[in-house]
């Protein structure tokens, strides 16, 4: 295994290359642009395909084309660009096309600014485009996971023929950490049972999201829901840190979870029993696990996220409001501070509910 110091955005490209990604289609936007830059040099270096598209809409539709061909393809962007891609993502989900979309979140709404935020949660995890569809959503919290979860995203998107999103933020994109490189490279195969690969074998195949007949479309929608249920049963991933005896549970993903980890360590030194529950998959959301935590013991949950509580809503649903679910957040491009988290932990600990 080889380690190098690597930027988060570069790690995404590294993950994609070892995952057998053949085409990259993108449009510049801070703080995701390095993915485009690195793709523009590494993809052609390996004979793979790179196009700087005229817009995010074009990029996601190029993804639709490459994915239809049965190839492993990807795009990356940030908030405003992801909003533009939503039409295409709905079509990809409707045509059951596998692909990977990376969102390096920045602060909104509108043009907002280029600071980090986690406010694309709803538009990525809840859909964002039209129709009853879901993306598989993976949330890295380190440079290592920017690479590893990009690989994983390709694997899952092909396993389920569904778009997969790597949901990160400006800090994860821009930061540098040691990366252990993947130890094997995927040799991609075209699945001729559905792909339109310009071959005699695939000549009868059709990629479409149209079902004119209402009953048929309902049937297709139900089939999608069954697929999502299967994903929920099989692919939930999360990480627990010092959870065994925790009275206070920090629930946090992405970069915010890194700050939480430091806070857990500090609080433990002060004798407060705090743990961190970090969803790694946002869809499927680790609902059952959170429900179990809510059922057993008198725990207080604290959601720590750089949004107006978008993930907190899912924690409330998962815990069925059986226990208090607090929120620590920052908006507008500001990172959550360690002090903020500590303050809330101490407040809750003093509150005597524990």
């Amino acid at each position: 295994m080889v380690t190098q110091l690597v930027k988060g955005n570069t790690a995404v490209v590294i993950g994609a290359l070892y995952a057998g990604c053949d085409c990259y289609f993108g449009y510049p936007i801070t703080p995701a642009s390095e993915i485009l830059h690195e793709a523009s040099s590494y993809f052609p270096m390996l004979g793979r395909k790179f196009v700087q598209a005229e817009s995010e809409e074009a990029a996601i539709n190029m993804v639709y084309g490459g994915a239809s061909a049965g190839h492993r393809v990807m795009t990356a962007s940030s908030g405003p660009g992801i909003s533009l891609k939503q039409e295409g993502i709905s079509y990809l989900a409707g045509a059951e096309l596998p692909c990977v979309i990376v969102d390096i979140m920045r602060a909104g709404p509108g043009l907002g600014n280029i600071g980090p935020e986690q406010a694309d949660y709803n538009q990525i995890v809840k859909g964002g485009g039209h129709g009853n569809y879901k993306n598989i959503v993976l949330a890295p919290n380190s440079v290592q996971e920017m690479c590893d979860l990009t690989l994983k995203a390709f694997e899952l998107s092909f396993k389920y023929r569904n778009p997969a999103v790597v949901l990160a933020d400006g800090v994860l994109g821009q930061m540098v950490e040691p990366l252990k490189f993947p130890t094997s490279a995927v040799q991609p195969q075209i699945d001729t049972s559905w792909a339109v690969a310009a071959t005699p074998q695939t000549r009868r195949n059709l990629i479409t999201s149209i079902f004119l007949d209402f009953e048929q479309l309902e049937g297709f929608n139900n089939k999608l829901q069954e697929k999502y249920e299967l994903i929920e049963q099989q692919e939930v991933a999360y990480e627990e840190y010092m959870m065994a005896d925790a009275d206070i549970v920090l629930v946090s993903y992405g970069i915010s979870s890194r700050i939480c980890r430091s806070a857990v360590e500090q609080a433990r030194k002060k004798g407060i029993r705090v743990g961190l529950f970090r969803p790694v998959t946002l869809f499927p959301f680790p609902e059952k696990e959170l429900f179990k935590l809510a059922q057993t013991g008198d725990r207080t949950f604290i959601c720590v996220e750089m949004s107006n509580g978008q993930m907190r809503e899912d924690v409330l649903l998962a815990t069925r409001c059986m226990r208090p679910v607090e929120l620590v957040n920052r908006l507008g491009g500001n990172l959550i501070t360690f002090d903020q988290v500590m303050q809330k932990i101490e407040e809750v600990a003093k509150g005597g509910s524990i």
Binding site: T3, A53, G66, A197, A198, L206, C260
Partner: protein
């Protein structure tokens, strides 16, 4: 009558089961519609050229949304106006594919105009068949970009008035201003004589794809008797007399003879090739060791854009990596860097790192006054501030050690004006405040300028000058 010009084309299915319904050989198009005729011409050429196995037909949104009912080849159906982008994706992934983008005027010239122009301008290997019927057929006859002046539609009920709705768009003329397209022609399918000419253009566009030569565009003046409320004769007359006047027929460009086939690279998926691209054999860092006793060192480096504070931080991070410490580096990014000040955070730790962003530091390196003023109060008691001596007087907070380093001066003396950041690095190395071994700095410096021996030599000199300054003065 028109149907007889063409027999049953080999490129179309004999029956259309995807359509469903009682009449398996009838299309969904209205009688007298131009779409049906163009389908036959394309199907005929596809069959004759023997390209069906490698053809990918892209159905648009519009009346031709169901083109995939009919064409016996690989089929995709896509979003409104996005066919050229989808075609780009297909063509880049499948270099051998014959890609056909079939689009109406609303699809191609309105909602998808950008995709249309950009794909043409990139010279994508796509044949675009553009059905200009001056109206949005599928949605009930609204005005299209190609609607004629004075022509009545449901959204210009008194006729298109250019003062409010502009003028008809001429797509062949527009695309002719681009360098990349190989073939551009406007034809009509209004009657037998016109269909004969159209057949040639359709075939040419597909031959260009068969040979992998690039972008071909065929605009087809077409009838929509249903929405224009015309019978067969009136619609033929409308195309021949009114549309042709606005949209003159003819070839705008044919560079098929002189154009060489465009072959794209073959993808390499081997691990060896990827490893090599990242120089994994020569550029590797050792893995970090768990050593909680080391604790954490939090560093902030800040200064003007060009003062090299980001690379200063990065070299410290590389030194920490060489010393087998956990490490993270995080820069301020974006417009902040433009002219203004830049800063970065470096965390060095004996165990896994939480937040990579440094709010309170143990070490601040400030290359200019604004940075010093901004971050000095966040230095923890017992911490160190290194600042350039040109900043002048500054009240260092209590409990913090302030060191004014003549970094720019030393850099100038060493004839490396831009290397004041390396002087600071030398000071850090000598002070030992990062708790990293001195040789890790030297190695990291060499790694940073990998392969550029001249830069390595100069910077090593500067690094040592910084270290010497510490020995002489502190």
């Amino acid at each position: 009558m028109k149907e007889k010009v063409i027999g049953r084309p080999a490129g179309l299915y004999a029956e259309f089961p995807r359509k469903g319904g009682a009449a398996p050989t009838a299309t969904h198009y209205c009688p007298g519609c131009g779409h049906g005729i163009l389908h036959k011409l394309i199907g005929e050429a596809m069959g004759d050229l023997g390209i069906q196995d490698r053809t990918v037909m892209i159905s648009p949104v519009g009346c031709a949304v169901f083109a995939y009912y009919y064409f016996d080849c690989g089929n995709l159906q896509v979003a409104h106006g996005r066919a050229p982008a989808v075609g780009t994706g297909v063509s880049r992934a499948l270099d051998h594919a014959v890609v056909i983008s079939y689009q109406g005027d609303g699809d191609l010239a309105s909602i998808g105009l950008n995709e249309t122009i950009q794909a043409a301008n990139r010279g994508e290997k796509i044949a675009v068949f553009f059905v200009n019927n001056t109206v949005y057929g599928m949605t009930g006859g609204q005005m299209a970009p190609t609607t004629l002046i004075g022509e009545k539609t449901v959204t210009c009920p008194t006729g298109r008035d250019p003062r409010y709705a502009g003028y008809p768009m001429h797509m062949c003329e527009l695309l002719s201003s681009l360098q990349a397209p190989v073939f551009i022609e406007r034809v009509s399918v209004s009657d037998i004589a016109h269909i004969r000419k159209a057949r040639k253009a359709v075939r040419k566009a597909l031959e260009i794809q068969r040979d992998g030569k690039g972008y071909a565009f065929v605009e087809v003046l077409s009838t929509c008797p249903t929405n224009l409320k015309q019978d067969a004769e009136a619609s033929t007359r409308f195309v021949n007399e009114q549309m042709e006047k606005e949209f003159p027929l003819g070839n705008f460009r044919d560079r098929s003879e002189e154009t060489e086939p465009l072959c794209r690279n073959v993808s390499d998926f081997t691990k060896e090739a990827i490893d090599k691209a990242f120089n994994l054999d020569t550029e590797a860092s050792p893995d970090a060791v768990e050593d909680p006793a080391f604790g954490q060192v939090l560093i902030k480096a800040a200064g003007f854009g060009g003062q090299g504070v980001l690379s200063l931080g990065l070299i410290i991070a590389k030194a920490a990596c060489r010393a087998q410490r956990h490490v993270s580096w995080y820069p301020s990014y974006g417009p902040e860097q433009r002219g203004g000040t830049a800063n970065c955070s470096v965390v060095i730790s004996g165990s896994a790192i939480g937040s990579p962003v440094v709010y309170e530091s143990n070490i601040l390196i400030a290359m200019n006054r604004p940075s010093l003023e901004k971050f000095a109060l966040d230095v923890k008691p017992g911490g160190v501030i290194l600042y350039d001596s040109t900043i002048g007087e500054y009240d260092i907070p209590e409990g913090v050690r302030g060191i004014a380093v003549p970094a720019m001066e030393i850099a100038c003396k060493t004839k490396a004006e831009k290397a004041a950041n390396t002087v600071m690095l030398g000071v850090l190395k000598e002070l030992g405040v990062t708790k990293l071994p001195a040789d890790a700095f030297t190695e990291a410096l060499a790694e940073n300028f990998a392969g550029k021996q001249k830069l390595i030599d100069i910077n090593k000199k500067v690094l040592e000058a910084g270290a010497q300054w510490v020995r002489d003065n502190l």
